[in-house]
Symmetry: C2
Subunit: 242 residues, 2 copies
């Protein structure tokens, strides 16, 4: 059982016309941690234009498997999603890209699954859709629902990654200010505002409450509290007057 | 107040190098219902390559506004998100594309907001990021986090659309089978399975329970129940033997 379900998700491109789209799709996959590319009867592959559009994802192209038909590409797959932009006559309700990705990732934790894309002009044939267990669509504008092939791959790969990972953004850990540091700051500020007559000694609480809310929303870190206290101190006792 | 927040979301592309990327971005926008494109110092625009890549979204290009600087493009905007692939020194925590889209759409219900993208090589400058109220990233693979510009626009536009609409897929309404129809089918099936000896009359329940679960998962519609009953009936009493 692989630890990373993304490695168990195949992207199968059927009869792609433009090699540049194969390259763009490979790049889209790699940005999201996918690497298993299958090409069913590509019009032109390998090709310089594909390499060019793949940029740093040329390795995905090098490892791509070219297949004579969809059945070969689906070999070993337990759940295949037909990615389409059209409602179809067949009686399979389409699920959204988000829902499809959830189901695929769940299955991919133990067994291979696939996202299947048709060619740029006509999409998937009814025969190809029949080979899949699920039909899925990206919710799009009704009057202009035709995403570029690589753009569609990007959205599905992104949704798979969002489901497979905790999908957090790598932020540097911030050393948030402690309760004591914050209270020290508020006390300092209040004293100075009273001392300067900005606050009345009788009813300082209302404005202090607003200031607390303001700073609370920003989640001050320790260094920021030191900076703010330095500003208050310096405004009260300018250094250049010493 | 516009009814559609997507019309209040500007996509601002800064110093784009390749006109083809402007066209691809326009197409990505239009598929998701966005139309407000602003170009800050584009390298080459208008351009045939942009028109070519835009396909049916040439109208978005025609209505695009070319601006001399980012401040001009941000005029009137109440919330701008800097879309970046890099962690930055500046002390602004990045939010995910999904979270950024949620905040942008919420604000866009009443006032203009913006997604701001840098150029293909160096992204947004620190000066440009400073002009924005939010920094956002698409959660991507650590070793290969550089999405194509139009692919990034596609993901953000998609997330905005998912937040702005109910994001459902247009499925034909299915007339699901009624309780009575389902029970009639199960009863019919059980009788025939007992009659044929497939089920023992003593303990038929276990297998029937599995069959119920199987059919329940598929959410049979009324027509499908009629078809299934027809199959059972025909298997028992073949028409061509009459």
């Amino acid at each position: 059982m692989p630890l990373d379900p993304l490695k168990n998700i195949r992207v199968i491109l059927c009869e792609t016309q433009h090699p540049g789209n194969i390259g763009s799709a490979a790049r889209a996959m790699k940005t999201m941690g996918l690497s298993e590319l299958y090409l069913v009867k590509p019009h032109l592959f390998p090709d310089k234009q594909a390499d060019w559009m793949a940029t740093n994802a040329v390795d995905v192209l090098r490892n791509a498997r070219v297949c004579a038909d969809l059945d070969t590409a689906l070999s070993g797959v337990v759940l295949a999603a037909a990615c389409t932009a059209r409602s179809r006559d067949i009686a399979v309700p389409a699920v959204s890209a988000r829902e499809a990705a959830a189901q695929l990732v769940a299955a991919a934790r133990t067994q291979p699954v696939a996202l299947v894309f048709g060619n740029e002009v006509s999409g998937l044939s009814t025969e190809q859709v029949k080979r899949c267990q699920m039909v899925t669509m990206i919710p799009a504008d009704a009057s202009h629902n035709s995403l570029n092939l690589a753009a569609a791959v990007q959205v599905y790969a992104y949704e798979c990654r969002m489901h497979a990972t905790d999908a957090t953004v790598p932020n540097k850990a911030r050393e948030l200010a402690s309760h004591e540091a914050l209270e020290g700051f508020y006390e300092h500020l209040e004293q100075e505002l009273i001392a300067t007559g900005f606050l009345s000694t009788k009813v300082p609480q209302r404005l202090m409450q607003r200031l607390r809310r303001l700073f609370s929303r920003t989640q001050l870190d320790a260094e920021e509290v030191r900076i703010l206290r330095g500003i208050v101190r310096t405004l009260r006792e300018p250094k250049n007057r010493n």
